[in-house]
C-alpha cells in the first residue's frame, strides 16, 4: 500500500515553499523506490507551520512543519522508525493545541483533502445544507438564516436573514446573488483560504441563497490579487456544473442557478457593495447613494443579495446543522463563530475560528504566542485599514461587534495585525490617510481632498522642523477637525472611518506625535 502524504497548495503554503517540498518528496520517493500518493490538500490555516507535511498512518495524520526541502530525506528516514522523535514532528494534526482548541464550523473541512474532490466534500457533510434547502420553501430558508443570528462577515455586520427577506419580498423577473470576494483589508485572508481550501462550500452557500430568494444567477467578484483562488473557483464551478449542482436543474430539481467569477482590478473601494456592483456592471467603481438598497435595486437595477464569502459559506453549515446549533455559539448579538485572522508581527499567525467572545489578548497571547521579533507588542490594529489601533489597555475587549463599537473600534472582517514596539504610530496614522487618498473613489470632497490634506498635516507634525510647539498643537487640532469633517461628510465608510485609526493613534500613542 502506498504511503499517503499531504502538502498544502494554498497561497501562503506555496509562498512558503510548499511546491518545492512536493517536488522533493516525489524525487526522493522515486530514488528510494518508495510508493507514495501525494495529495495537495488545502491548508488548515496553521500558517506558522507551513509548509506543513502530513503523513497518514493508521488512518490518522502525523504532522511535520515548517518543512524545508533539505528536511525531506530525514523525515522519510524517520518514518521508517519512530517518526514522533523527529524535531519537526508536531504529533497528530488533530491534537495540535492551536487547532484543537478552535471551534471550526466554516473551516471544519479546510485542509483535510483535495479542495476540488467532490467525493471528499460529500464525505465531509458537503451539500447536506443544499439537500435540505431543496426541500424547503424560500421563506423557510430565510427564516432559518434569521434564526441563526448570522450577521454579515464583510464588516458591517448586518443581519443576513433580513437582507435576504428584502430580496425575497421584492418581485422581479431576474434576481442576483453576488459574493463579495474583494477581501481588501490588510491582515485578512479568511475568504482567500476558504476559496482555496473549500471552494464548494461557498458555491453551496450561493446556491442556497438563490433558492431562498429566487435568484438564478450568481457572481463572485474576486480581487485580482488572488490568482490561486481564481483558478480554484473556476475549476470548482466547472466540476460542480458537470456534476449537476449548478445549471438549469440544481441537483436534478426544477430550480436553476448559474455561477461566474469576475475579477476586480486592484481597487480597494470595490469591496464596498455598491461600488462593487458598478464595477461588475463594467463601470468605474463609484459608490452609489443608498437608498435604493442593493436588495431592492442592485446589479443591473435588479434585487440582489450581496454577501461576503464567509457569510455565504456559513449558510451551508446553518442549513446542514440547524440554526439553533449555529446560534448556540457566540455572545450577546454576535452569534456563531468568527474566523479570526492573526497576522503581522506575531509568532503563530493564521486562521483561528472561534465563537465570538474570546478576548483580543487571548488570541494574541495564547494563539499568537507573542511577537515574531520577540520584542514587546505595542499596538494591535483590528478590522483592516479603517480599524482602530488598540493599546494594551484595550486588549481585554471581547471579540464581539458591539463591544468593539463601544471602544471606538471595529471588528470588521476579523483581521488582527500585531505591531511590536518599533512601530511609529505617527507613520501609521499617515499611512491611513495616504491609503484613503490612493483608494478613494473620488465622489465626495471630504474623503478625496481631506485625505490628501491629512497626509500633509501629519507630515508637518512629524517633520517638526521649523515649528514651535504651538504650531504643532495647532496642526494636531487641525488634524482632528479634518477627521470630524471626513467622518460626518463622507458618503461611505472609506472616508467615514479612516478617522478611526488616525484618532486611535492620536489618543493612545500621543508621544509618537511629539518627537
Amino acid at each position: 500500500m502506498s504511503l499517503r502524504l499531504f502538502v498544502p497548495q494554498d497561497t501562503t503554503s506555496c509562498a512558503s515553499g510548499a511546491d518545492a517540498i512536493a517536488q522533493a518528496l516525489q524525487q526522493e520517493a522515486a530514488t528510494r523506490g518508495l510508493d507514495i500518493e501525494l495529495i495537495r490538500n488545502g491548508s488548515r490555516g496553521i500558517f506558522w507551520l507551513e509548509p506543513l507535511l502530513e503523513v497518514e498512518q493508521k488512518n490518522r495524520r502525523l504532522a511535520f512543519g515548517p518543512v524545508l526541502t533539505k528536511d525531506v530525506p530525514g523525515i522519510l528516514d524517520a518514518l521508517a522508525a519512530d517518526a514522533t522523535t523527529h524535531p519537526l514532528c508536531q504529533g497528530l494534526t488533530e491534537d495540535i493545541p492551536w487547532l484543537k482548541s478552535q471551534q471550526r464550523l466554516t473551516f471544519a473541512r479546510a485542509g483535510i483533502g483535495d479542495p476540488l474532490c467532490l467525493n471528499n466534500y460529500r464525505a465531509l457533510d458537503g451539500f447536506k445544507g443544499l439537500e435540505k434547502a431543496l426541500q424547503m420553501s424560500g421563506q423557510a430558508i430565510v427564516g432559518e438564516v434569521k434564526n441563526s443570528g448570522l450577521r454579515g462577515r464583510g464588516g458591517a455586520a448586518f443581519p443576513a436573514g433580513i437582507k435576504w427577506q428584502t430580496v425575497l419580498d421584492t418581485p422581479s423577473g431576474q434576481k442576483y446573488v453576488v459574493c463579495n470576494a474583494d477581501e481588501g483589508d490588510s491582515g485578512t485572508f479568511a475568504d482567500r483560504l476558504l476559496m482555496e481550501a473549500d471552494p464548494y462550500q461557498l458555491i453551496e452557500g450561493m446556491i442556497i441563497a438563490g433558492l431562498a430568494t429566487g435568484a438564478t444567477q450568481g457572481y463572485i467578484y474576486l480581487r485580482s490579487e488572488y490568482p490561486k483562488a481564481y483558478a480554484m473557483l473556476n475549476a470548482a464551478i466547472e466540476r460542480a456544473t458537470a456534476n449537476g449542482y449548478l445549471g438549469q436543474a440544481v441537483s436534478g430539481s426544477d430550480r436553476a442557478f448559474e455561477l461566474e467569477v469576475h475579477l476586480g482590478a486592484g481597487a480597494y473601494i470595490c469591496g464596498e457593495e455598491t461600488s462593487l456592483l458598478d464595477s461588475l456592471e463594467g463601470k468605474r467603481g463609484m459608490v452609489r447613494a443608498k437608498p435604493p438598497l442593493p436588495a431592492v435595486e442592485g446589479l443591473f437595477g435588479q434585487p440582489t443579495v450581496v454577501n461576503n464569502v464567509l457569510t455565504l459559506a456559513a449558510v451551508s453549515t446553518i442549513l446542514a446543522q440547524g440554526a439553533d446549533d449555529y446560534q448556540g455559539y457566540g455572545m450577546d448579538r454576535s452569534r456563531g463563530t468568527l474566523p479570526v485572522q492573526l497576522a503581522g508581527n506575531v509568532k503563530r499567525g493564521g486562521l483561528i475560528e472561534l465563537a465570538f467572545g474570546t478576548t483580543l489578548r487571548q488570541v494574541v497571547e495564547e494563539y499568537g504566542n507573542g511577537s515574531y521579533s520577540g520584542r514587546p507588542v505595542r499596538a494591535i490594529q483590528v478590522g483592516g485599514p479603517l480599524g482602530a489601533y488598540l493599546p494594551e489597555s484595550q486588549w481585554d475587549i471581547p471579540l464581539d461587534y458591539e463591544s468593539f463599537t463601544a471602544a471606538k473600534a471595529m471588528l470588521g472582517h476579523g483581521g488582527i495585525v500585531v505591531f511590536d514596539d518599533t512601530v511609529n504610530m505617527g507613520a501609521q496614522a499617515r499611512f491611513a490617510m495616504e491609503f484613503c487618498a490612493v483608494e478613494s473613489c473620488g465622489k465626495c470632497t471630504p474623503c478625496r481632498i481631506g485625505s490628501v490634506r491629512g497626509v500633509e498635516v501629519i507630515d508637518r507634525v512629524l517633520s517638526n522642523k521649523d515649528e514651535s510647539d504651538k504650531d504643532r498643537d495647532n496642526n494636531l487640532i487641525l488634524l482632528r477637525e479634518l477627521c470630524d469633517t471626513m467622518e460626518f461628510g463622507s458618503l461611505c465608510a472609506m472616508g467615514g472611518m479612516v478617522p478611526f485609526p488616525v484618532r486611535s493613534a492620536l489618543d493612545h500613542f500621543p508621544e509618537d506625535f511629539r518627537q
Binding site: T11, S16, S186, K228, E281, G349, V418, F431
Partner: protein
C-alpha cells in the same frame, strides 16, 4: 506599431455578456501586457460606449496599464501587516537596488516595480508577488535572490 492592434477576437468573445468591459480589459492586458491606445476605439465600438467612457474605466483601476511594462511585474505589499514586519525597509531596498520608483521599469525592460495593498499572505509577511507567484517572509537577501533568479532563467520560480 499600434496600427497593428486588432482586438476584435477579444471584443467578440465578451461583447454579448453583461458587464463585459472589465473582463475584456483583463483579456487585452493579458494578451498585450497593457491596454494599447489603439484598442480603445475598438472596445468603445463593440460595447456602444464613448471612448471617454472606456478611458474613464481604464484610469479608475490600478491594474490597468496604458504603457508597455517590463518582462516581469514585481509587486511589493505596502499594507499594514507587511509594514509590521519591515516592508517599508524592503520597499526602500527594492527601489534602490533596482534603481527605479514604483510604476517604473528598469532600463533593460526586465522589471516593472509596483505597489500592492495586501496579497492575503499577511500571517507570513513581508509579501511580494512576481507574476502569479507570491513569496512569504521576504527580507533584503531573499529579494536579491529572487531578482537574481529572474535575471538568470527568465522564470519566476
Amino acid at each position: 506599431m499600434s496600427d497593428d492592434v486588432d482586438v476584435t477576437n477579444i471584443t467578440q468573445q465578451f461583447s454579448g455578456e453583461p458587464g463585459a468591459l472589465l473582463p475584456m480589459l483583463h483579456a487585452i492586458q493579458s494578451a498585450y501586457g497593457y491596454i494599447p491606445e489603439a484598442s480603445v476605439a475598438q472596445i468603445a465600438r463593440a460595447l456602444n460606449l464613448s471612448r471617454a467612457e472606456v478611458h474613464g474605466v481604464i484610469s479608475f483601476y490600478h491594474d490597468f496599464r496604458t504603457e508597455q511594462a517590463g518582462r516581469h511585474i514585481v509587486q511589493i505589499c505596502r499594507a499594514e501587516a507587511c509594514q509590521s514586519m519591515g516592508s517599508r525597509q524592503l520597499e526602500a531596498h527594492a527601489k534602490e537596488s533596482l534603481g527605479i520608483e514604483f510604476g517604473q521599469t528598469t532600463a533593460d525592460g526586465e522589471i516593472t516595480l509596483e505597489p500592492v495593498y495586501c496579497l492575503g499572505n499577511c500571517a507570513c509577511s513581508p509579501s511580494m508577488r512576481i507574476g502569479d507567484q507570491v513569496y512569504a517572509r521576504v527580507d533584503n537577501t531573499r529579494f536579491d535572490q529572487l531578482i537574481a533568479q529572474l535575471d538568470e532563467t527568465g522564470i519566476t520560480q
